[in-house]
């Protein structure tokens, strides 16, 4: 029994970083007032670039390049939304569509249809340590990052301005701070995190880029963000919970298939989304809501 719990925890900690980083990236962007449904595409870019870069350079450097790829896409998203007042949802979905097709095209043209060649995974540390041992640095980072982001958002001047840009951008402008620049920085850093989430799929969870990565995890990260009510700690907790659910489902298929005859796998797969919907349906109007200025381009003429 204890062994089972241990295995479950271990596979949760293995799978959680991707979701946690992506959810944090989405939180960062949306708290500044820019909708980010392009997380899926940014993760795909991060996963692809990290896996390809790690073929020719040390894996950690590949991860950094993967992050930069996510950030580059996010910068494009920010540029379209802030400079050209693009509809933020449209721009995000466009990034998803482009990355889905571009990833498949590059994979097929340069490698094999199914995935890139194997690379050296990130090193796993501390195999002797109970529970937390035997994981990559990304797992440890994923445990610390939510607290770090919480501190930045709640306790620093930059964080206060960032929240203000998402709630009432006019107030930020009245202080003489550029709303556009603030939002640009937030969205781009969000992309950095989404890229890291994607990279952790291809260098830690697996050892290569697979053709369908991240297979909807980006949207699950958005669900985690909503479930966590747009807070770093809430989103990370939701992401970890969803990752645990995934680990449980995969564990059940191999070790206790009889359970899946009672509760079908499809129902378990749908559970994170169903729970998010139920949470949204259950709360009162206006409670635990998204940032007030979310999705509206900043217009200096408005008061």
């Amino acid at each position: 029994m204890l062994q089972l719990v241990d295995a479950l925890l271990s596979s949760t900690l293995d799978a959680a970083p991707a979701l946690v980083f992506a959810a944090l990236g989405a939180v960062l962007s949306e708290r500044a007032g820019v909708v980010n449904v392009g997380v899926e595409g940014m993760m795909r870019a991060g996963a692809f670039v990290a896996a390809v870069a790690a073929l020719v350079m040390p894996t950690p450097l590949g991860v950094v390049l993967g992050m930069l790829a996510g950030a580059a896409l996010a910068a494009l998203h920010a540029w379209l939304c802030i400079r050209f007042r693009a509809d933020q949802v449209v721009s995000g979905m466009a990034i998803n569509l482009v990355m889905l097709a571009l990833g498949t095209f590059l994979l097929e043209a340069r490698f094999s249809p199914n995935g890139t060649p194997s690379i050296e995974q990130l090193t796993r540390w501390g195999s002797g340590v109970p529970v937390l041992g035997g994981h990559t640095a990304l797992t440890w980072l994923a445990l610390a990052a939510p607290f770090a982001l919480h501190a930045v958002i709640q306790r620093t001047r930059f964080g206060l301005r960032l929240r203000a840009a998402g709630e009432k951008p006019q107030a930020v402008a009245a202080m003489g701070v550029s709303v556009s620049r603030l939002r640009f920085v937030a969205v781009t850093c969000g992309g950095l995190l989404a890229g890291l989430g994607g990279a952790s799929l291809s260098v830690a969870t697996l050892d290569r880029f697979e053709h369908n990565m991240p297979a909807g995890l980006g949207f699950m990260a958005v669900a985690a963000m909503v479930f966590g009510r747009w807070t770093p700690l809430g989103a990370a907790a939701a992401a970890a919970f969803f990752a645990f659910g995934n680990a449980l489902r995969i564990g059940l298929t191999s070790s206790a298939p009889q359970v899946l005859e009672v509760i079908p796998q499809g129902v378990l797969l749908a559970l994170p989304y169903l729970l998010t919907l139920l949470l949204l349906a259950g709360q009162k109007r206006g409670a635990g809501k998204a940032p007030a200025a979310l999705g509206t381009p900043y217009d200096p003429e408005l008061r």
Binding site: V35, V37, L76, L80, R83, F84, R85, A86, D87, V89, V90, S91, M93, A94, I95, N96, L97, V98, M99, L100, A101, L102, T104, F105, L106, L107, E108, A109, R110, P113, G216, F219, M220, V222, A223, V226, P264, Q265, G266, V267, L269, A270, P272, Y273, L274, T276, L277, L280, A281, Q283, R285, G286, K289, A290
Partner: protein, 364 residues
């Protein structure tokens, strides 16, 4: 026509950019040119061969394939466009399409009825369940203030998980006959099949014509009826519409119901026209494509039809690019890039205004 200019320019730039990207990746301009040539040939037909040999299949098969894909894209594009017109963003066309497809596969295989009843019933079921799926999001929006973008994203994954990882592999799975292992649901009965138009040479079926007719009907509804006018008013300025005595929530419900029905119908047409059963996975994300189709069509029903025809043709051609080492989803890259460019609203406004300015200034 003026409103279509941003879309046309965006598509042109997207084709150019994707050509450069492909040439850089493949490392050969001539190979890329051949791949693009194959795409055009696969979309419009091999006319030289037709004139040389008189083999009609060389033209009919590609065109039929293009129209089949265009029909599906038209339906999902219309679905997104209708919702967009009242100011709702229906990202959930994919989920609505999936449940619609399952309904059509179920009715098509499990009921035995005369063809005159069976096919309409299966299509109706697909539309009804797609509509119902969309109404969950509408209800959450109107009663709980949940943004439809979030709820429809969630509903997409709920639909896909429940249908493809439970119903299709579990309760609704076809029973294996003999030694052949089967995947997906049972084959639909011939009475529920959408009749094929050119039975010998192509999979083209009545679904395409249904889609074109619906595009015209939606256009008439939007432009020529009171309900359509009120819906557009709600989309442009909900508070002004409310003040003018328009029931905003009624128009939202109505538009979302139509939107869901169109997406569900796309699923129905896909199953009853080409797939003939619900396969293990519905590999084609026509629902997500609908977003691109609708917006490249400037959210106008006929614009959506035009962009669906264009991208449907490119997609049919995409399969022919495989010969030159280009994945068949390449046209989707063009489509995504075009959407990205169309999205830059302010850029187009400025550009087009500048054009007006230069034109009025020039006579002086």
């Amino acid at each position: 026509m003026r409103r279509a200019l941003p879309s046309i320019l965006s598509v042109a730039v997207a084709v150019g950019v994707s050509f450069i990207a492909a040439a850089l990746t493949l490392g050969s301009v001539s190979q890329t040119a051949s791949a693009f040539g194959a795409m055009v040939e696969g979309a419009l037909g091999d006319w030289p061969r037709f004139f040389e040999t008189g083999n009609a299949t060389a033209v009919l098969r590609p065109i039929g394939e293009a129209a089949t894909k265009a029909g599906l894209l038209t339906l999902t594009g219309l679905s997104v466009a209708v919702a967009f017109r009242v100011g709702l963003f229906n990202i959930g066309a994919q989920g609505q399409m999936v449940v619609g497809a399952l309904a059509a596969a179920f009715i098509g295989a499990r009921l035995s009825l005369p063809a005159a009843l069976h096919l309409p019933l299966a299509l109706l079921a697909a539309a009804a369940i797609g509509s119902g799926w969309a109404l969950i999001a509408t209800a959450l929006k109107l009663w709980r203030g949940v943004h439809e973008v979030i709820s429809t994203i969630m509903l997409n994954w709920v639909a896909v998980s429940l249908v493809e990882n439970w119903l299709v592999v579990g309760p609704l799975r076809a029973t294996a006959s003999g030694t052949n292992s089967v995947s997906g649901t049972a084959q639909i009965l011939p009475t529920a099949e959408l009749p094929r138009v050119m039975a010998e040479s192509s999979r083209l079926n009545l679904g395409f014509f249904l889609a074109v007719a619906l595009a015209l009907a939606v256009s008439l509804w939007m432009q020529r009826t009171r309900a359509g006018y009120e819906s557009r008013a709600v989309g442009l300025a909900p508070r002004a519409a409310e003040a003018a005595g328009i029931s905003v929530s009624r128009r939202l419900f109505e538009a979302m119901a139509v939107s869901g029905a169109l997406a569900g119908l796309a699923g129905g047409v896909l199953i009853l026209g080409t797939e003939l059963k619900y396969p293990a996975t519905l590999a084609s994300p026509y629902g997500f494509d609908g977003i691109a189709i609708a917006l490249i069509g400037q959210s106008h029903p006929l614009g959506a039809l035009a962009s669906a025809l264009f991208f449907g043709a490119l997609r049919a051609g995409g399969t022919h690019m495989q010969l030159y080492g280009v994945h068949k989803s390449f046209p989707e890259l063009i489509q995504g890039l075009a959407l990205l460019l169309v999205a830059a609203k302010l850029f187009w406004e400025r550009l087009l205004k500048q054009r007006i300015a230069t034109r009025t200034r020039s006579p002086v």
